[in-house]
Point group: C2
Chain length 294, copies 2
């Protein structure tokens, strides 16, 4: 099911993004720079979650669904471009390819990020959803991506480098840095599928667990993964003496924490199946994406 | 009139911005960094134009007006922070104070810019305007600030450095780089004052002339101004061998081009007075802000 969504439906999300960039960008190098990072691929986890959520509630995938998923992927991609900059994480490789600034230079990479971020809100404002749904989707995205969400998480993450911080603080940082956008994916899917506020709250809880699972898995892969598998250099966290789940809990403790978050997520999925027209199988497939083995 | 708006009403715009940042930012240094650049002041030209436009159409200044003006100033401020970065224009001084990255470091300056940009859309999404007005204001702002507007203009501007380009190309760059946000200020003011589409089109034309006037004046001041007056280093354009109006038209030609744009703007103001309940005096005062003597 998820495989099918990924193979047949994600290309429609990608087309929404590239059509948008091709239509609106009035500077050739800027266009190339944005398309380079969008086309670098990756798992498209966030748009896939939006599609999976709408499908789980047994609704049709319509153009506004692809556009919302596209806007979210644009936000995610901008954040990667800016995070990779020399002034930030200073990464040369991303998804097995040179990072944006390595190809286009720092200035254009900054502008490509700014352009994708701004474009995400334009794309969302242009859907055929009702104005009130549109405002809600824009507002939640801005909150998730902004100064109480992802941007704050990134600022906290930098401060946590070269500093061992308590687990509670690390969780708060990751809740914002990666959790906020993943949570948005579930909640936006619920809104697009016309679900109740109560369901939206359950989706938010689910997103919280998935967000932490994602980060723990990411930290673990930096130790047990390979550069080839991940498309980026491993061992970076240890090199930068960054606080991570494995550095605070040990390898086995981090594995347990991951299992714990996925277990909590499963409980929420069962709750969702009790209160809505909902196919839990799709979400159980989504969970497997966060297993260490995948 | 403009003096009074500036003294009595702009502080309400500034309060909307600082309240927003203080309420939502969940990272102390990030908050400080954003407030530093917001509080660095400047003429607040863009929010002032929104207030002046609403007033010119004889409407009340309400909270949504201050919020829209605040969102626009947040976008403008983010663009200054990113433009000043070493990877971009590499400026140490802005409005007589150290630039953001000189105080907070490049990484936090990038994030402060990202946060202000994202926050502008959140703030706009939270007004009490009708959802359809809200979506329109968000869409126009994203267009003006984005990949067909300001971000593209900035990319073009960088490419034009160390290259003498034709006047037509220079105008196209400035139309996007500075014209788009100034035009937004007029058009958003018209929307907030419930004006017709025809009036909005006239406001857009007016914004185009004002945008070019602004840039020509800025280029001229880089030659005839002083660091003390401007709060930034002068002579930067010549040093970087940048294409400017004076470099293409000569000092006198640039002065004439400025007068020409302001003359065109005056014609549009008379047209506005013919079709709407409109006080032209306020706009004539606005024009004086773009005179070289001011």
């Amino acid at each position: 099911m998820l495989q099918q969504l990924s193979a047949e439906e994600l290309p429609k999300v990608e087309k929404e993004i590239s059509d948008f960039i091709n239509t609106y960008t009035s500077h050739e190098e800027l266009k190339k720079s944005m398309l380079y990072s969008i086309e670098a691929g990756g798992k498209r986890l966030r748009p896939l979650i939006i599609l999976a959520t709408v499908k789980a509630f047994q609704k049709e995938l319509t153009t506004p669904v692809y556009q919302t998923a596209g806007a979210l992927e644009m936000i995610h991609t901008y954040s990667l471009i800016h995070d990779d900059l020399p002034a930030m994480d200073d990464d040369d490789l991303r998804r097995g390819k040179l990072t944006n600034h390595k190809v286009f230079g720092d200035a254009l990479a900054i502008l490509a990020g700014d352009g994708l971020l701004t474009g995400a809100f334009q794309l969302l404002s242009e859907t055929t959803l009702s104005p009130s749904e549109t405002v809600l989707l824009i507002q939640l995205l801005a909150k998730a991506a902004g100064i109480g969400g992802m941007v704050a998480g990134q600022a906290g993450d930098m401060a946590a480098e070269k500093n061992q911080i308590p687990l509670k603080d690390l969780q708060a940082i990751h809740h914002r840095k990666t959790g906020a956008l993943l949570t948005y994916a579930f909640v936006a899917g619920g809104i697009l599928a016309n679900q109740t506020e109560y369901v939206a709250e359950l989706l938010e809880t689910l997103g919280g667990h998935i967000g932490l699972a994602f980060q723990i898995r990411d930290d673990l892969l930096d130790i047990v993964g390979t550069t080839e598998e991940l498309g980026k250099q491993i061992g970076q966290d240890e090199k930068s003496e960054k606080s991570t789940y494995p550095s605070l809990l040990g390898l086995e403790g981090a594995r347990q924490a991951l299992a714990e978050e996925l277990g909590q997520a499963k409980i929420v999925i069962h709750q969702l199946a009790e209160v809505a027209e909902f196919q839990p199988q799709i979400f159980e497939e989504v969970l497997t994406l966060f297993d260490l083995e995948k």
